[in-house]
Symmetry: C2
Subunit: 388 residues, 2 copies
DNA sequence: CTGTTAGCGCATTCAG
DNA sequence: CTGAATGCGCTAACAG
């Protein structure tokens, strides 16, 4: 009863709305003494009702006498009360958040997926908790663990997914834990971990896009297409390489190892690798462009940007001497000169689909593998090869 | 006592580590009956100790007998237990998260800031809660409110900040509420709301960068520089326009309204506006390039990309006929041909600084206004004007 | 060293 | 219609 003597805050002049200048903080000893957010109890005291009544007014699902309701609402406004989400969550009545785990937000594809995830989550009334890993599998596990602690209702994992079988197995374990806790792991834009029955996968037609891209090149008459990107590992690049291989094979052409240039997903690496290749090749060969290939399939648009610079530096014109294609249909594809032919990937939709699947009621959604279509976007960086 | 008859889970075979294939879920009635995450109580029962002991083992700040400790750790592993972050938060011993509010993750500058925020937050051991607004002030307020409910230890607001005085006032109120709850609002890359004493601001030298950029143009001999971007409002563009004005004035040149082209921050709008302008001007004037200006200051790199396309379409060469500069030093600046001269903005560092200030112990950090430096990055899109 | 107790803020029984 | 009591999962005082 020690606090019972505290005067009600309703004696404060009726300033009402917490408009410009900030809401009115209670001047009484209670409010000024304790730092930290206003609690339900404080509101109850101010409105001279019980906590239960305040709760009911706020929930709105229960009959409350109009005068009481007014008193409560007024106190809520004056004390600038907002409910504590943690307490709600603990009580079991908070909509769990969607967790988003990714390597780096600065990557355009990642950012697009993330935006999709965030939008869809918001439409379902869920917040979105984000964690970055820098591509480090260890940090990925740590972040995933932390998301589990937060009680995430669903975890969306964005990324390349090429981190070795051990990590894949670890992921399978995490997927199982999440599933056991009533949550769900959704892998977005990366292959399913081997043997993970509990993980849901949302992917796009990586291989099909590459197939279309290379087929288009072949249809224009190209016979030597350089694949500029990683040729090992099981990540995103693997699907694109598979499409490249299939297109060649279907057209009765051999997959020549000399045309598998290797490299990374980024701009700098692609640039350097192609530049070196051009320097070497031109000394050896005697084909039209002096390179041993008439077209370059860069594994990403970023890589294509690097490739373009290297080609230009070597005095080669795109698409007159060499055709160039990228993958991803990023913003930069239209900034390049010539504008880059590429494959459109519905990144934002990928993120949305991931959340929809993650939040789906039916347990059948667990372990599902959704694949979104991709399509070729022909622009101005492709042309028939120059006449021999 | 109804649950007291449940057999201890230690009778499960010693599979141990939750490796590939997922952790071992307890097979007893307790674990399989209740869905949802494992609780401390379940672990305590399994290890045949009290909840407090489990808590102590996990916290590690308290002496526990080695055998007991082993039993507990084993149960934790077998039940795949992780602590409930909400309960921790409620108890008061969880590090609050950093909330991040922004319009759209797909914007490169925003993504960079966000990455910085996330990195710095992680280094402080805080999670990062993200919410997008789509640039809508109403959604911004809603998101901010929700962040407050989540008990965010700090709220970082990224954005253009040009939404009118009413919204600014509203923001001031929110800053006050946050401050009263022991949290803090940090505005990142946007001007301080008028009269908000409770908001902290982290900005960059927007005006100085523009000043340097335009001064460089003037030093090269340009006298008519077109400002391509918004000329009204108090957002990001305002500071850049101010730098433009000051540079002109300092060099004894008038600010000619005809050279204030207006437009938006994006690529498309800049392109269309410049294209229209070029069509009109060339019919009227008779200066070297036939445009009435010899250089274009595009308010962002994106706008510069649009401007470049428009200039090229009009048969104008950059930088031979017209010089072009952007702002932001985005990735695309080096993809353009010629590579774009621009102003570097330390976006990632901006995000980091925002979190540092947000989490600073000293209350003095509230209401502070930090300004990070910018610098000119001369590349190949600027040259002296063509001889008359 | 370990167990028991209390309470964080809230929503929800159950009594009035 | 409203108030008092209970417990979500956890940790920090207190006892042993």
């Amino acid at each position: 009863m020690s606090n019972a003597s505290v005067r009600s805050v309703t004696s404060v002049p009726p300033v009402g709305r917490p408009g410009p200048g900030g809401p009115v903080r209670a001047a009484g000893p209670t409010a000024s003494a304790t730092a930290g957010p206003t609690t339900l109890r404080q509101v109850a005291r101010a409105a001279e009702v019980s906590m239960a009544t305040v709760s009911r007014v706020l929930a709105g699902n229960y009959p409350v006498a109009p005068p009481t309701r007014q008193r409560v609402l007024r106190a809520v406004r004056e004390l600038d009360y907002v409910a504590n989400a943690h307490a709600r969550a603990l009580r079991g009545h908070a909509t769990p958040t969607v967790a988003l785990v990714l390597a780096d937000l600065r990557d355009e594809a990642t950012a697009r997926i993330a935006q999709g995830v965030e939008e869809e989550a918001a439409e379902h009334g869920r917040g979105c908790l984000i964690g970055t890993t820098g591509g480090d599998p260890r940090r990925e596990r740590a972040v995933l663990r932390s998301m589990r602690q937060q009680g995430a209702g669903a975890v969306v994992l964005i990324g390349d997914g090429d981190q070795g079988p051990a990590h894949q197995a670890e992921l399978a374990g995490i997927a199982g834990s999440l599933a056991a806790a009533g949550s769900r792991l959704v892998l977005c834009g990366r292959p399913a971990p081997t043997g993970a029955t509990s993980a849901t996968v949302v992917d796009y037609d990586n291989e099909g896009g590459a197939y279309a891209l290379v087929s288009d090149l072949l249809a224009r008459g190209h016979r030597q297409v350089l694949f500029l990107g990683p040729t090992t590992g099981g990540g995103t690049a693997a699907g694109r390489l598979a499409g490249y291989r299939r297109a060649l094979t279907d057209h009765g052409l051999p997959v020549r190892p000399a045309l598998l240039a290797g490299g990374g997903l980024g701009r700098a690496e692609a640039h350097d690798r192609l530049a070196r290749l051009l320097a070497t090749r031109r000394a050896d060969r005697a084909d039209p462009a002096g390179t041993g290939f008439s077209a370059v399939f860069a594994v990403t648009d970023q890589a294509a940007a690097g490739a373009l610079t290297a080609l230009r530096a070597a005095g080669l014109s795109v698409p007159d001497d060499i055709s160039l294609v990228g993958y991803g249909d990023s913003d930069r594809a239209t900034d390049l000169l010539p504008q880059l032919s590429t494959v459109h990937v519905p990144y934002t939709e990928l993120g949305r689909a991931a959340v929809r699947l993650a939040l789906a009621r039916e347990p059948a959604a667990t372990g599902r593998h959704a694949v979104l279509p991709t399509h070729l976007v022909p622009r101005h960086s492709t042309a028939p090869p120059p006449p021999a």
